[in-house]
Homo-oligomer: 206 residues x 2
């Protein structure tokens, strides 16, 4: 019925384990492709071009903006970040589901442009648990933790705009549930416009 893949955008509070979730779902199921963002900032130690980001120059990025080559892009701390359109569209046309891990403004931009996009919001079961996880890393100063929590406060405003909440309590169960949710979302009418059109056309003769 729907031969194209699904565009899945994942956002959520910092410290909710989005990255791990994405890594695990890619490992467990083979229908997902991960979109790699493009940026003009320099690679940090250990970051690999084409894996962590596509690292490009300012000119290259701006050229791609002019060519309408991004699904979404934004400036942040004097650098550009964006999702290249070509990879996403190729994969979707090949029937693969594409995962983007981006923040909320970007996510809502994508949904506006492509209404069939699936928006998933990853959240811990409670803020107490989020704080516990942020502290548990043991690598962040109190100031950084407070900054992340105050950013979470701003981000929580957008939770209602997402299609589904992914409550990350136990990782394993969460990965399965996320995959089930994605499969359920394929059956929403807005993602089956062609199928519904076919049914209506076939009924026209009665």
């Amino acid at each position: 019925m729907n031969h194209k893949g699904l565009l899945v955008v994942i956002s959520g509070f910092s410290g909710t384990g989005k990255g791990t979730l994405v890594k695990e779902i890619m490992k467990k199921y083979d229908n997902y492709s991960l979109s790699v963002s493009m940026t003009t900032r320099s690679p940090r130690t250990g970051e690999v071009d084409g894996v962590d980001y596509h690292f490009v120059t300012n000119d290259e990025f701006e050229k791609l903006i002019k060519e309408d080559g991004f699904i979404e892009h934004a400036g942040y701390c004097d650098h550009y970040y964006g999702t290249p359109k070509k990879f996403v569209e190729n994969e979707l046309n090949n029937g693969r589901d594409v995962i983007l891990e981006i923040e909320m403004q970007g996510a809502l931009q994508v949904k506006e442009k492509y209404p069939e996009t699936l928006l998933l919001f990853v959240t811990p079961p409670s803020i107490t648990e989020l704080e516990r996880r942020l502290r548990g890393r043991g690598t962040e100063t109190e100031e950084v933790i407070m900054k992340r929590l105050s950013r979470a406060k701003e981000e929580a405003v957008y939770m209602d705009k997402y299609d589904y909440l992914i409550i990350n309590d136990k990782l394993d169960e969460c990965v399965t549930e996320m995959n089930d949710i994605i499969n359920a979302a394929r059956r929403v009418p807005v993602r089956n416009i062609e199928f519904i059109g076919d049914i209506k056309n076939q009924l026209d003769r009665y």
Copy 2:
């Protein structure tokens, strides 16, 4: 997080096997309760009061209307049909998921009154297949088959108003998929207003 059950309304074209689907999902999972409609029409041979319908008098039905005792009700062929509110609310408050099998106008009434209601539309993979199934019963005259198909044409207009399409191809897979879809639907923000409110409240102090 969400302690109440989910109200699940099932509609769909006549001949799509809604009844069998409902029966099978009730058998396979134990979290569902089936709502039995009330009617003023007389029982047909074999129909059991309290199982197929609650059979009541006109006066009893109209008294319940006045007491706001229905989730939805309608007149059809000189008889009343309706869904008694008390059973549904009791079950939901006990954390059980309630299934209503009703037609589209009723379904949309329910959704308007209870926006967290889940609307499922059962459809065969194609109209050719629907026609094949209607003929396959071998019990319907050509006239009745044509009447059902022309009714399906009217009903198809509402497909987009439903939350999910349930494509009934293979019964077994369809029952599992329906249950997965219902579980996924629990994670939609509109059904987690309390949880989202809690998260926002907890973040307020940062």
